[in-house]
């Protein structure tokens, strides 16, 4: 092929034969080449190859193996199960991450609560309340017999709360069961 038919222009022949869209500059180039013998020879050869392949299209097909479609179908049927098992393998890992994060969060919260003033006060109140109830029941007979002297005797829960507040406690309401028990035994 002569040098006049530059490399980048050669492929325009195939594009022309294939009815591919060409840029205006490429169309202009083809117009210039239209009278060239080389160009016309190229067109003829490319058309011949294309029509040969087209004419043999049926013969060029390769018969599908009989079991190929079935084997692909089988593989596709197994695929959802494999995808699901993969997802399940991943899911516990994700759950463990969430569980670790939750445990750490709870631990940090617990430490914060334990060291917080409100937490300490609440804890003290709970323990003191427990001791009060236990002592009230345990000492009920001594109180009745006068062996234990009560610091204050009152049916006014507010007065009792004030007494506890003055002595380091912060009980605002007297415990009704204790109150009831003491009244029933006539101590009150």
């Amino acid at each position: 092929m002569s040098n006049s038919f530059a490399n980048e222009k050669r492929s325009l022949v195939s594009a022309l034969v294939d009815n591919e869209t060409l840029q205006p500059a490429e169309l202009a180039e083809l117009e210039k080449l239209r009278t060239s013998d080389n160009f016309r020879a190229q067109i003829a050869v490319i058309k011949a190859v294309k029509s040969t392949l087209y004419a043999r299209h049926g013969a060029l097909k390769i018969a599908l193996p009989e079991d190929l479609e079935q084997s692909i179908r089988n593989a596709l049927r197994r695929e959802p199960a494999q995808l699901a098992s993969t997802a399940l393998r991943k899911r516990p890992l994700d759950m463990w991450h969430y569980a670790y994060a939750l445990v750490v969060l709870l631990f940090v919260g617990l430490v914060w609560w334990m060291w917080n003033d409100a937490g300490v006060a609440l804890k003290a109140r709970y323990v003191a309340g427990f001791d009060l109830r236990e002592n009230a029941y345990r000492l009920a007979s001594e109180i009745r017999s006068g062996d234990v002297t009560l610091s204050i005797k009152s049916a006014d829960s507010r007065a009792i709360s004030d007494f506890f507040a003055a002595n380091g406690g912060d009980y605002k309401v007297f415990f009704p069961p204790v109150n009831f028990t003491l009244e029933r035994h006539g101590t009150y």
Binding site: D18, D37, A41, T52, L53
Partner: protein
């Protein structure tokens, strides 16, 4: 199953081995199934499947293939030069050059093409894809696709003419030509 025949033929041409082609087919359908979400509705499904098959071939099967003998494009140009007069005179060059080739010879001529050229020619002339679709399938610019198609056809023309000549067919110009 859609496009199975076309995909298998293409796979066989790429792999040059029917068993490898069958494995490649299975890979292709599985990958298509897994990545169905990535398929854009309204686009060319056949081209999408061909692209998956082509990429699977590149990733898993190409290394097994022995590289075909490369053809110097200058010799192809020599061929076109040699048939120029015949081409200009004949209104049906196919009849004068390729009509006497057997299907097996056409198949062999295709299989001796370098992979990139073979792929481009098959997608264009056998499967009827546009250059834009082939560009998508081969992941190459349209200009590169166009060049590969043209050069592939040129190589194929020379191979087919060689078969015709070897069996005593062909025009006087072929026998006197440079091929």
């Amino acid at each position: 199953m859609p496009h199975m025949q076309a995909l298998f033929t293409f796979a066989c041409r790429l792999c040059r081995d029917n068993e490898d082609a069958a494995d490649l087919m299975q890979d292709t359908y599985l990958k298509a199934f897994r990545s169905w979400d990535s398929f854009q509705s309204g686009s060319n499904c056949k081209a999408w499947m061909f692209r998956i098959l082509k990429n699977s071939f590149i990733n898993n099967y190409r290394r097994k293939q022995a590289s075909p003998e490369m053809v110097d494009y200058d010799t192809v140009e020599d061929f076109i030069e040699s048939v120029r007069d015949s081409a200009l005179e004949s209104t049906d060059l196919e009849r004068s050059i390729f009509d006497n080739t057997f299907d097996d010879e056409v198949t062999h001529a295709i299989e001796t093409l370098p992979e990139e050229f073979r792929t481009a020619v098959l997608l264009c002339d056998v499967e009827g894809f546009s250059y834009a679709d082939i560009s998508l399938i081969m992941d190459s610019p349209v200009g590169t696709v166009r060049s590969r198609i043209h050069r592939g056809r040129g190589m194929l023309a020379r191979n087919l003419a060689n078969y015709a000549l070897s069996r005593g067919y062909g025009s006087k110009q072929f026998q006197q030509g440079a091929i």
